[in-house]
């Protein structure tokens, strides 16, 4: 049993799960925005990266609060990053996205690509392009089983748990709260919702705020690793694979995005180990093309019929 757990395939599976949760989270945030505003947010990764920088550069700063001083540790920085993510999402929707509703399909694509370039360059200008190492709150040393390393460390478990906490929180919000009902209603039928008294405009902004917060968590988790750290382009590759995962899972389905994201993470690990990491994106592209040829709406979405 122990030999099985430390075998090459299981190690790949575990490592893939750890990198897959980040991809799944980014895919989830893409789906949240797609469902609320039918815009594919190409700046999603960059917005998340920016929020992570805002949070993680505060590390070990002192905060004077009159009566007592607060030494900012990893957890406070995570909170700051999430708050920054929420704020970035809201401001982006109000300022950049609002004028684009009802415009041709390519306008939001172009604007969000411009935002992606701006944010990455801005982050490089403010914090530099060299890697900012982020401390791990838990040990990054793998557990040992009879002298053999299990490809899992306390830090990895933290990454996985954090992802599932976020996913469950989002699911509870959408399923069981009044706000969640309003969010779903304004995504499905904006006109009817407006007539029934839902502030649809606010719901669209809220959708962006939530998605951007989820993205911020994903970026912090991605940076919280012994090997990666934070760079302005850190989210480029996860974003590309997350987009592919979201498209494969179906842009309408949050569960599909999360599942497909984790599956792609595992695929990425196996391909890197058994073949070569250069093939990861190419194989992901191949899968995307194949799936969309057979089921253009994705694996987990219902078919939508376009009418004239």
């Amino acid at each position: 049993m122990d030999a099985f757990l430390t075998s090459r395939a299981v190690s790949d599976l575990l490592a893939g799960l750890v990198s897959g949760v980040v991809i799944g989270l980014v895919a989830l945030s893409l789906v949240l925005i797609w469902r609320s505003t039918h815009i594919l947010n190409f700046a999603q990764g960059a917005m998340a990266m920016f929020a992570a920088y805002v949070g993680m550069t505060q590390l070990s700063h002192r905060l004077d609060l009159g009566a007592f001083t607060l030494q900012l540790n990893y957890w406070w920085c995570l909170v700051i990053a999430i708050l920054a993510g929420l704020a970035i999402g809201g401001v982006t929707e109000r300022v950049l996205v609002r004028p684009l509703y009802g415009k041709p399909e390519i306008n939001p694509i172009v604007v969000m690509v411009g935002f992606l370039a701006t944010l990455e360059a801005l982050a490089g200008a403010i914090w530099g392009t060299t890697t900012l190492s982020v401390p791990t709150p838990f040990s990054f040393v793998d557990w040992q089983l009879h002298g053999q390393p299990l490809a899992l460390s306390p830090n990895d478990v933290f990454r996985i748990v954090a992802t599932f906490v976020v996913a469950v929180l989002i699911a509870v919000l959408f399923r069981f709260t009044n706000i969640g009902l309003q969010l779903r209603a304004s995504a499905v039928a904006p006109e009817v919702s407006r007539l029934l008294g839902v502030r649809v405009g606010r719901m669209l902004t809220l959708g962006w705020i939530l998605a951007s917060g989820v993205g911020a968590v994903a970026a912090v988790i991605q940076a919280t690793s012994f090997s990666t750290g934070l760079t302005p382009s850190i989210m480029e590759a996860p974003f590309a694979i997350a987009f592919i995962a979201a498209a494969v899972g179906g842009l309408e389905s949050p569960t599909g995005a999360l599942v497909a994201g984790i599956a792609f993470g595992i695929m990425q690990q196996f391909v890197s180990d058994y073949l070569n990491s250069n093939y990861v994106l190419l194989i992901a592209l191949g899968v995307l093309i194949l799936v969309l040829m057979i089921r253009p709406q994705g694996l987990f979405s219902k078919r939508v019929v376009r009418r004239v």
Binding site: P99, V113, G114, A125, N278, Y279, L282
Partner: protein, 363 residues
């Protein structure tokens, strides 16, 4: 008034001839000007003209068929590597042959990437092309026995013919004549590419594409095959990107895979949007902006005292291009060329030219 109408009528009667004459005129003018420019300007012109070809290709894809590609930097890279590998192994091939090969390879890869475009729409397609742009560098690494991996490939330098040296009264070819020759080559190739595209925009294919962009259902009812139109648009765009990439490589004399990153694709899109989507002059403007962007950045750095090695200096270009992309799309989505054309057309609507007609009695 009458001569104006003579010109208009002649243009209507012989559109291709007029386009050919205009291309010839502008190309000759540009060639003439390179004689007076300093070597640096000529070199910038050479790279800018090559970039104008790439932008024109994307302009056709976006302006005619309404799709966005963020993979044109990678298509450019495909053409660049095709040209470089061929030029290294077959030094005797004339320039035209190498460039034609780069164009064809670009078109072939464009066909492959364009096949899924028959099923994908807007954002899906754009996302797929982003993934393709990011996959280009790994692709080069996979074929490292041909491409030399991450390391650059040096291509044989283009040497100007003897008569050009004698034209500027220099005994042998120097930097002046070499760069003049590079600019001249680029200008001629760009002229040919623009002439071809001007005709394509106005052809049956171009009209069919615009109909696809405006209304897919109407286009299908009118007998346009949507899948075919989309694939052809992708192929043409990739072929132009391949040509521009091949030309850039031969002008610069080396190629390296890290040049063709996602940032390049975004730069191409910015230049297209700033110049004006779907216009020939917009693509030219975009190429000129690209050629001089480094000079302008240096100028801004000199004026503001920002060091080019500082964090801000190194990222100034990205910030400016990114902001320009957002602002132009939000405030003037037609771009520079499109906005100017819009203003002129509005003037013509206010004060239409009245054709002197034979039937009415002259006042």
């Amino acid at each position: 008034m009458t001569p104006v109408f003579a010109v208009i009528d002649f243009r209507r009667a012989h559109p291709v001839l007029v386009r050919a004459l205009l291309t010839l005129l502008f190309t000759c003018l540009a060639l003439f000007l390179t004689y007076f420019f300093d070597p640096l300007t000529n070199y910038n012109l050479a790279t800018g003209a090559a970039m104008a070809i790439v932008i024109l290709g994307l302009s056709f894809l976006t302006g005619a068929s309404g799709q966005v590609s963020l993979g044109n930097g990678a298509f450019m890279g495909i053409g660049a590597y095709a040209a470089a590998i061929w030029a290294v192994h077959h030094t005797t091939t004339p320039l035209v042959g190498t460039l034609a090969l780069a164009t064809l390879v670009g078109a072939a890869v464009g066909f492959l990437i364009g096949l899924p475009a028959t099923r994908l729409r807007g954002p899906y397609l754009a996302g797929m092309t982003i993934a393709f742009a990011l996959a280009f560098e790994p692709l080069v690494s996979i074929f490292s026995s041909w491409t030399n991996g991450d390391a650059p490939i040096q291509t044989p330098l283009l040497t100007p013919p003897g008569w050009l040296a004698s034209l500027v009264h220099a005994p042998t070819s120097s930097l002046t004549t070499t760069n003049m020759w590079l600019a001249d080559i680029s200008i001629v190739v760009t002229g040919v590419a623009f002439f071809f595209m001007a005709n394509l925009f106005r052809s049956r294919t171009g009209r069919a594409m615009r109909l696809v962009r405006e209304n897919e259902v109407a286009a299908e009812l009118a007998g346009v095959s949507l899948p075919r139109a989309r694939v052809v648009a992708f192929m043409v765009s990739a072929a132009f990107a391949g040509l521009g990439g091949g030309l850039t490589t031969l002008v610069q004399g080396s190629v390296q895979s890290s040049t063709f990153n996602l940032g390049l694709s975004i730069t191409i899109l910015s230049l297209l949007v700033i110049g004006g989507i779907g216009t020939l002059s917009g693509a030219l403007l975009g190429g000129l902006i690209f050629a001089y962007s480094q000079n302008w950045i240096t100028w801004i750095e000199g004026k503001t005292g920002i060091s080019s090695t500082s964090n801000l200096g190194g990222n100034l270009k990205g910030i400016i291009f990114g902001l320009a992309l957002i602002l132009v799309m939000l405030l003037a989505p037609l771009g520079i060329a499109g906005s100017i054309r819009f203003v002129i057309l509005r003037q013509f609507k206010k004060h239409p030219l009245t054709r002197p007609s034979q039937s009415s009695t002259p006042q």
